[in-house]
Amino acid sequence: MKKILQWRWTPWVALALAALFPFIAGAIEANYLVRVGGVIGLFMLLGLGLNFTLGYAGLFDLGFIAFYAIGAYTTAIAMRAGVPAPFALVLAVLVTTAFRALLGLTILRLRGDYLAVVTMGFGEIARLTINNLDSLTNGPKGLQLAPWRPLSFLSSDPNVQYYLLILAAVAGGVIASNRLEDSRVGRAWIAIREDEIAARLSGIPVRHYKLLAFTLSAAFAGLAGGLFAQWEQFVTPESFVFWESILVVSIVVLGGMGSIAGVLVGALVLVGFPPLMQWKLSADWINYRYLFFGLILVLVTLFRPQGILPSSRREAELTS
């Protein structure tokens, strides 16, 4: 197992398989799975994003889904105002990170549980604001978007198009995460997670690096939110409830804090399994998904408290 994970081509093989998946699914008439795959991809993006805050810098955030919402609504509002879809995505990333930076500036002095409670509060405030700000968000009735069909040269099915677009975003996110992790910046974050005082007294400006990790997280959430809005062509506050924040935290924690592969596997298991069961067994299954979710949490906590695929440190050549 370890050998497979460390094999240098493993990520590329996984990417190739994932890229071929919608065409295979199309051939066996399981288009439903492509939709599921796209949703898993969105949660992979969210997980990769939260991984900066929670996995690297060790800051608990229970309101992360608010930034997914801000990304989705920014895209929706921008596209309704006539902004072309790709620019709407860029705008979503910028607006989301700006909100995140402002929030970070005000609350990052808090630690641990206090930070968790405040972010949870922010998540609820964001949802309630969206729900009530009728002039901008149309409240609970939601916003409709004009269709955008990217990658139409690859497939005529919008689900396949968005699946592939999301896959590309996940691949980019993985590369970016990986490169940042294995650098001076990543080491600074992990040092802060391990021991904040020792990090500061080793010369790391702790508050800046926390804010950086916190803010970068939102770029991923904003992108995911934008893609979600364009794919669904519809956004409502209902998509961004507290439960979704918990789901993203669970993806990071179950996968293995600070582990990129862990985030991907975490999203695959937690987001992918319930609809797969529903598809394979019966529609009733969806009613049991919280039971299933709890079961996974208990099993992982019992048998793999460090996560399904815990992060491992890079080994250096010492004999030179």
Binding site: R179, L180, R184, R313
Partner: protein
């Protein structure tokens, strides 16, 4: 030994009337002292004498209530902890504070933070400048591991290292920031005589690199062996200073350790 009495260099650190009060408790009060370049200076004193608090004020953990800390003429009081490292003061901790889930090598590489610059774009685009800096950081970290005698353990997670090795790793991490002043808080705590002797040798080697050393030490044998000068703290104030032999003969010092009857 001539190494024990170096010609006093210029003043590196000058502390004037420094105080740290916690409410009514004067943990550090009216401390005046100076340290010269190239010295090894020990701070001793009974438990609760304010030694660690003094170190914490020096390194920016506590703000200090009053007084000045002049390092190369620059005021350290009021500076953030990471900026103090940048001007050349690094430290270790009484209860070891390593980055437990990073390798020994990475721990030292973190210590290099203030002397390196690569930020978001370099790592993301893997620029030549980034790669060169990474290589240089890794090389220096390896050299420092070798310097403290931990080269073979570079890929071990810090938490898995034996106790003595963890203490040395903290020193290597501190040295990675190229400090002019290295502050060691009880470097031999919990060590047996052989390990302590090992550490004494290491501290001397650190001085040979041109680093001035200030340490808190409880083992008198180590203090007598290693120190050019000794400061004695009691109840937050400095009650004596001088060469090790002078200090242990000082009546106030004996009183601080043994009480009035012991002194008479």
């Amino acid at each position: 030994m001539s190494a024990k009495t170096p010609s006093p260099g210029r003043v590196l650190l000058e502390v004037k009337d420094l105080a740290q009060h916690f409410g009514g408790l004067k943990a550090v009060d009216q401390v005046n002292l100076s340290i010269h370049e190239g010295e090894i200076v020990s701070v001793i004193g009974p438990n609760g004498a304010g030694k660690t608090t003094f170190f914490n004020v020096l390194t920016g953990v506590y703000p200090g209530t009053r007084g000045e800390i002049l390092f190369n003429g620059q005021e350290l009081r009021g500076m953030a902890g990471h900026d103090i490292v940048a001007v050349g003061v690094a430290r270790t901790f009484q209860n070891i504070r390593l980055f437990a889930h990073m390798t020994a090598l990475e721990n030292v590489m973190v210590g290099r933070h203030t002397r390196t610059v690569q930020f978001l774009l370099g790592p993301l685009l893997r620029t030549a400048a980034f790669k060169n800096e990474e290589k240089a950081v890794e090389l220096m970290a390896k050299e420092l591991l070798e310097f403290v005698g931990l080269k073979a353990l570079g890929n071990e997670l810090a938490k898995n290292l034996p106790y003595g090795a963890q203490r040395k790793l903290e020193i290597a991490r501190a040295l990675a920031s190229e400090p002019k002043l290295l502050i060691l808080d009880e470097p031999t705590a919990g060590m047996n005589p052989t390990e302590s002797q090992d550490l004494v040798t290491l501290v001397r080697k650190v001085r040979e690199r041109g680093v001035t050393v200030l340490l808190i030490e409880h083992q008198m044998r180590v203090v007598m062996d290693i120190s050019d000068r000794v400061f004695v703290f009691d109840y937050g104030v400095k009650i004596a200073e001088g060469k090790p032999k002078e200090v242990v003969a000082n009546a106030r010092v004996i009183e601080a350790y043994l009480g009035k009857e012991g002194a008479s």
